[in-house]
Symmetry: C2
């Protein structure tokens, strides 16, 4: 069954990570077009919306298949479906939030996750006065219950919103429990094994990379 591949280090025709990073944006735009009643769009039009070249869109899509029609363009509905399939956006993803402080509460009350299939089904904290309380319809439980909660509720994704000094140890625990995707809100760059995906939400870093241009820009 398996290929008689000599070296097993690198994957087949691996899709570059930058490409995967752009697909969700394509999905966004396609959804918008669809709700505007647009049935067909070509790479030129898509590129305009997204500020990328038509060639890039075509090349990106070509990693996954042939979704367009020459002389015409892409069926918005078809392409949207395909991309959602590729990204796994048809599934429901159960999410645990670790850390129910100011930030964690804001995340629990953020209405933007659910419409895209990300369901926050559990919340953990180590503050005794929080444990047992309900926040946004989710009962807060002790961090010690992590493993049980992850297994019981079939959780695959974790959102981390704990103070910096706890971040690494929390993430280590998450990895132990088999979590393979982490969204980190703490202002630090935690270490994870290669097999685990992590993205950090870090507004201060974003600001700091812009002040460079404000300081050194045209003057």
């Amino acid at each position: 069954m398996a290929d008689i591949s000599p070296s097993r280090w690198d994957d087949q025709s691996a899709v570059p990570e930058v490409v995967v990073g752009r697909l969700p944006q394509y999905v966004r735009v396609l959804k918008e077009l669809l709700s505007d009643g647009v049935e067909v769009a070509n790479s030129q039009q898509l590129g305009q919306q997204l500020q990328v070249t038509p060639a890039q869109i075509r090349k990106d899509l070509s990693y996954f298949g042939r979704f367009g029609k020459q002389g015409r363009g892409y069926s918005v509905r078809r392409l949207l479906d395909e991309l959602q399939q590729i990204l796994g956006l048809n599934e429901q993803w159960n999410v645990v939030v670790v850390g129910v402080g100011r930030l964690g509460k804001a995340i629990l009350s953020y209405p933007g996750f659910t419409p895209d299939g990300f369901h926050i089904v559990a919340a953990l904290d180590n503050n005794p006065s929080l444990i047992g309380q309900e926040v946004e319809g989710v009962k807060v439980r002790a961090v010690e219950e992590l493993d049980a909660v992850v297994k019981a509720q079939n959780i695959t994704i974790a959102v981390v919103a704990v103070p910096v000094r706890f971040t690494q140890q929390v993430i280590d625990k998450l990895v132990e429990c088999g979590i393979r995707a982490i969204l980190n809100y703490a202002p630090t760059s935690p270490q994870v094994p290669e097999s685990v995906k992590i993205r950090s939400i870090d507004p201060v870093l974003s600001l700091q990379s812009m002040t460079y241009y404000l300081t050194n820009g045209s003057e």
Copy 2:
């Protein structure tokens, strides 16, 4: 005064944007090392913390000067100072938040901006029942007052936390007022002129780019 340059499109020895994007992370790590009492660090050690190769750190820094000593490494304090200087992090940056809904309020109450020199000095909304109220010590004013507020309070950076459908028009207004750095929290990719820097905070996009690997990963 101006150079007699034939084409004025590209800057001198422009620093790649990816490099600028990494500098704030270097600053983070250096601050941590300093507070741990570490006086000297070499590119190997820095790279370990940051998950980048030593060569990359040296190359990145070489765009800005020669900060290290052969056979020894970098003075943590010196390098930190230099990078903060380069990024303009010694200055105080005044920030306006546009949109004081759930998200805007969370941003106003986020304690992570101030220690890094980003001061939220104004908040705008178009909701009459919010205007005039104080949120986290900042009085909410009407969006119409944008221009006056930006001028009066010497604001250079804007944070946008309005509903998607208002985002582009708000950003257009900000650009008109001379704002040149925008941190956008709305789930959309707004268009800005080249001279304006924009970064988007978009947790859903981050999640969606990870589900790709959960769906198509090792199986």
